[in-house]
Symmetry: C2
Subunit: 464 residues, 2 copies
């Protein structure tokens, strides 16, 4: 017996080497540096070791042709998991390349929950093809979730959960936990005969209780409920703050429609911040790292076009002052400095606002205090840099008036940048626009126009 | 009996109204719109209902003076939890204002894990004061974690976990789960007599097994291990991909030093993206929404100063061409357009790179493919916008040569922007610099200098 035990332990110890953490960046390097046959071998080794999430990230890091070759090595039974964990664009790229019979096989393994998630970015023809592979009951489920729109948590609620009536016994509840192995499963949800949510029983309380007592006696008074029409990021925050692993999602009639898990919350937080980061450059979190050139160019062209309109506005402002520019060429040399300092100062205020908005920390109630604070910081930095830049410019062109003009323009533009940095996102929020997306374009337009106008306007007054 | 049951259910049903989700943005609005006495009342109501995480966010959304007044309403036993969930700067602000005796009471409730987390941004004097309130054993623990630096997961590993020897019985393991109520607890970790990690037993397997069998027989072969010197974001990803709730953290000798939970991973992901977002404007994720004006101004001044150097570089480039500028003033009017289009195109490539790097998807192996792809997109968009802008400029100033000059400059600058957008973050990564922080400044310098140089250089050749 003792011998067997030691053997088991030493076997387990040997196992640890194979259990070591797979660092994504290392396998990305191994895979991307290999080519052709060698890459196929490296990938098939990784397939044995890595989880679906790692495989999804790896596939995304390959150019389109290599990506599809490696995809064909993924076993049919793993394919749904891997696609679930990919971004929307790379997933769609793979689906479009797959032959019909493989696609039908894949769709036959798809749950209505998966399809809801995918359908946000699938063409209707592919969604319909997938629905055709599903049974009547699954299609009904799909339609049920499809009632909620893309920003409501009801759409993405997890429908696999432990549900019992309040008059079931503790023993029945314990049996559920012994039989069913769900991710992030810590609660049993109680519903009445009409599927209305009644309360939550914690596994911890359940396994300490007397087997014959009723579940209704174990309802945990502190548990929160997520309402199905809450926004994704609000629900993720509710779950994070609750310190629980899962929360029930109920519709406005109190019916339990699913649960939200901490796993989902983590994924939503990541997606939300990715979308904010990408939005600052006018892009989308679903964008493929290796988009086909035409597709990538077309998407980015829209943003460049919007930016061009604002750039022409700045040019038109300069155009008002051709007269003074033709006489004092130093103005043309210095004018980018005024615009640039305003732009940077404004983007600092704007970024602080965007971060605060992501956490729900900005409201009409504190905007005046924020404005005062940012204006104070802007004025202080404006004064500092007005003096520095004024001295340098005055010395460079040996012209005191030039130093005074640029100093005043810097001070005015940086104060204006602070005001715009706070007010632009507030106004955008009021109209339900994404401040991370349009904020920086509008802000830059303001700081460019104000910067050029004050600088060249002051010069016109003082030089002409 | 039946009556009692119904009563219990209807009580539970009434409870639901009080269990409803607290939406952070709504309570922020209620709180920030109230003033003085009224605010104190609103806050004390919220204190009864909301979790520590919500209270932390609420306090951060208040200006400094109001924040400290509301802080004094927080009960002593809740204070550690609330501070744990605040950002570093606001937390430090509160600690600095607290009188010594309150501070000592707070520190006496602090765990070594909490202090490690706080100490990253505390002045040494406060850390020492906190250590003085701790027992010998806790101080030893603190020093143990303090061996790992701020980017290693070993520093933040959770030391509360279920640990047994492999020759313990299933019954002993089950007793652990019944007695101890830990967050994200799903595993039992097995260590040998020297604290070396041997393996993981899942709760699910444990509660199905025979009470007399040994834990060593239940070791789960698929569990991963996180190594203590892994970076925070790599560990968070390993945990997310593993589909588990917790993973063991082991040092390089195989000793189990703690566990990492999905809760920690979620917080790390949020912090990582916040820091990336803030870095794009030269700021820090710990920054207070309401920093004291002097502190806020000083921090941002550094970034403005760096930006000023690059702006002067752009100015110096323009200065080389004073001659042509004084003769063709239209050049001064149009030149911001060239720089701006290059800057936007470059930031699109850069943002795609930063997102990829955050997920470990960029390596030396795929950089050539990325460069080809981005250059293709840049050239295509460059060509499109060169024609559009060339036509508009030619028509505006009634000058075909001007149209040709700006068209060529746009094409060259946008192609250059694509190259810089890919190469700048690669080079920064090579030298372990944060691409989100310094990437955009370097990129803008490149696109400004290249843009002005090609535009005004071509004009010098063609006009003079």
């Amino acid at each position: 017996m003792e011998e067997l035990k030691n053997e088991l332990i030493s076997e387990a110890e040997q196992d640890i080497t194979s259990q070591l953490q797979i660092e994504v960046s290392q396998v990305v390097q191994q895979l991307t540096e290999a080519e052709g046959e060698e890459q196929a071998e490296v990938f098939s080794e990784i397939l044995n070791e890595a989880e679906a999430g790692t495989i999804a990230i790896l596939l995304e890091s390959l150019p389109l042709d290599e990506r599809y070759e490696r995809w064909q090595q993924v076993q049919p039974e793993e394919r749904v998991d891997v696609l679930n964990l990919m971004r929307a664009d790379p997933r769609l790229g793979i689906l479009k390349k797959m032959p019909d019979e493989e696609l039908d096989l894949l769709f036959s393994q798809l749950s209505p929950e998966d399809l809801i998630d995918w359908s946000d970015s699938l063409p209707d023809s592919i969604t319909d093809r997938a629905l055709a592979q599903m049974g009547e009951r699954q299609r009904k489920h799909f339609e049920l979730y499809d009632q909620y729109d893309e920003n409501e948590i009801g759409r993405y609620a997890d429908h696999q959960m432990l549900v019992l009536n309040p008059d079931s016994t503790v023993a029945q509840g314990q049996r559920f936990f012994r039989r069913i192995d769900l991710d992030c499963n810590d609660h049993l949800f109680l519903v009445d005969a009409n599927d209305k949510y009644v309360g939550t029983v914690r596994r911890y309380d359940l396994f300490k209780a007397d087997a014959d007592s009723l579940l209704s006696a174990l309802i945990w008074p502190d548990s929160r409920v997520i309402s199905a029409d809450s926004s994704l990021i609000e629900s993720a925050e509710t779950l994070e703050h609750s310190r629980e692993l899962e929360l029930p999602v109920v519709d406005d009639e109190g019916t339990l429609i699913g649960r939200m898990t901490l796993r989902t919350a983590t994924a939503l937080v990541r997606e939300h911040y990715e979308s904010q980061l990408m939005a600052t450059a006018g892009m989308d979190e679903d964008d493929d790292l290796f988009a086909p050139i035409i597709v990538g160019a077309r998407r980015r062209a829209v943003w460049l076009g919007i930016n061009l309109l604002t750039a022409f506005l700045a040019s038109a402002t300069i155009g008002l002052f051709e007269n003074v520019l033709s006489q004092v060429v130093a103005l043309a040399v210095l004018m980018p400095i005024v615009a640039s300092m305003g732009g940077i100062a404004g983007s600092q205020s704007l970024t602080l606002m965007i971060r605060g908005m992501a956490m729900g920390q900005i409201s009409a109630g504190n905007v005046v205090s924020l404005l005062k604070n940012e204006l104070g910081i802007g004025a202080l930095n404006g004064l500092l840099w007005a003096i520095v830049i004024g001295l340098i410019a005055g010395w460079w062109f040996d012209d005191v008036i030039m130093g005074i003009i640029i100093g005043c323009a810097i001070l005015i533009n940086m104060a204006m940048a602070a005001i715009a940095g706070v007010m632009v996102p507030m106004i955008l929020q009021k109209f339900n626009q994404d401040a991370a997306l349009s904020g920086s374009v509008i802000l830059t337009t303001v700081t460019d126009v104000v910067g050029f106008f004050t600088f060249l306007g002051l010069a016109t007054i003082l030089y002409l």
